[in-house]
Amino acid sequence: MEWETVIGLEIHAQLATKSKIFSGASTAYGADPNTQACAIDLGMPGVLPVLNQDAVRMAAMFGLAIGAEVAQRSVFARKNYFYPDLPKGYQISQYELPVAQKGQLHIDLEQGASKLIGITRAHLEEDAGKSLHEDFQGLSGIDLNRAGTPLLEIVSEPDLRSAKEAVAYMKKLHQMVVYLGICDGNMQEGSFRCDANVSVRRQGDPKLGTRAEIKNLNSFRFVERAIEFEIERQIDLIEAGGKVVQETRLYDPDKGETRSMRGKEEANDYRYFPDPDLLPLVIDQDVIAAIRASLPELPDAKKQRFITQYGLSGYDAGVLTTSRALGDYYEATVAALSGEPKLCANWVMGDLSAFLNKDNREITDSPVNPAQLAGLLRRIQDGTISGKIAKDVFEALWAGEGETDAIIEKRGLRQITDASAIESVIEAVIAANPEQLAQYRAGKDKLFGFFVGQAMKASKGKANPQQLNELLEKKLKG
């Protein structure tokens, strides 16, 4: 029996505002418990919410970026339930009228395939605090610093058919919110987290199976593993004659399995109703137009432009547009060098990325800036140094030993292009290896490489490789 998996994701992206969605408390991460929870965040008696305009702007940006309808009028509602990390006994969210509806996102799959994923809605809401379960004499501690942090909840259509697709979608969405500058994307700190609705059905069955919701997945790897586990669990269950129950499940990364969250599962009745403390959110057409005009170039468009403008492969263009900062770096390098887009791409994706990885640095934090990298590449271009020597120069640049030309001079790395100088090196090598010379002349062509190596070594790598080859061939033939 063939099974089809149906997945929809609900992603919570914390919006990168300075203050909370309804209060003037800071949203900075990692403060001492409850030092960033003001009277409003604590739900003190008599306090009232006032909406943060940047949270609205960011939500609208997102809506426009995914081609959604940004609502001219949306409404905040109260979602009522009791939980210690929810100070007011309700969460301010959007229910019937969200800020954005009906968007879509293009995801790339393996072997160049791609797919359009529908986004049902995106709405603004406030985050809850955190329960800490360290033992306080058998009690839990509540930290409300996170309470009131603005969230954009992004709900996909059940268009995803595998864990891999789910991850591709989530990564694309992550890229998008970071591109837009509306979310820092930091998953470890919980800035971007995911709930996955997973169900299975027999191939061809038009009816959706019963779904389970896996809560709070905060890494791409966990999303993939949790969904894969869940698919298997549901198929096994049904094949054994059981039934999937609609429930909330939690992923245990240590055991690699999902388990039912029984305690919280009693029939939730959230009693949504419009929040009387807040008025309808109205976003005028001219405001929407201004936000649209302020949108940065989005990943798909940038990738396409890189392919046409710089003649890059789809793969290279994809890698270089992973983040806005990387794309910017690349383009600044090309601009500084006035050309050679492929050479630039190779270096940005190659040595630069390797060094960033090694030192665990962000591109924005690279010790070698685009102008410096372009300076180095220019010296390859004009033959001052070889590509191989350039790698050493790059390392020196990275270590802060000065600018390219100074490093070349100081280390005497300038490429030798004087034919007589190269000839004298070759003559010395030939003279030192009479046996190999004899063998070569007897027909052992493979020894050519040996002579190239020896000559290059004797020139300390500085001989122009092409010249060296030509001259060596001539000399060996005698």
């Binding site: 505002t17 300075k18 203050s19 209060s23 003037g24 408390a25 800071s26 001492d32 418990p33 409850n34 030092t35 960033q36 929870a37 003001c38 009277a39 604590l42 003190m44 006032v50 909406l51 943060n52 305009q53 940047d54 949270a55 609205v56 409404v75 905040f76 009791f82 939980y83 210690p84 990390d85 329960s131 800490l132 379960h133 306080f136 058998g138 009690l139 839990s140 501690g141 509540i142 930290d143 409300l144 939690l250 969250m261 305690g263 919280k264 009745d269 009693r271 419009p274 009387p276 807040l278 008025l279 309808p280 959110l281 109205v282």
Partner: protein, 95 residues
């Protein structure tokens, strides 16, 4: 609409209110009476009437995104029933 003891129990749980067994009948009686009063609304056909959530027809005002609140933890926690290490303490939260 009249409410029986079971329904009162359900609503009380939803509202997180412990109601003593001996008080349930009185609540059931009073709540039913209130719902009966409320049911007078049914006499009017409201089809097509736009619900009115606010007395004034205004739009939400927006706040500039700036941090305006300083840390007042000590002040706020001075009136808290139980705190430790800056945290509000509650019976163990089970997930």
């Amino acid at each position: 609409m009249s409410l029986g003891p079971a329904e009162v129990g359900k609503i009380a749980h939803l509202a997180r209110l412990a109601i003593r067994d001996q008080d349930v009948p009185a609540y059931a009686h009073n709540l039913s009476a209130i719902l009966e009063l409320v049911a007078r609304m049914d006499a009017v056909d409201t089809a097509g009437v736009i619900p009115m959530a606010h007395p004034l027809d205004m739009a939400q005002r927006l706040r500039v995104d700036e941090v305006s609140e300083a840390n007042q933890r000590e002040r706020f926690q001075a009136i808290a029933p139980r705190v430790e290490a800056g945290l509000y303490l509650v019976p163990k939260v089970i997930e």
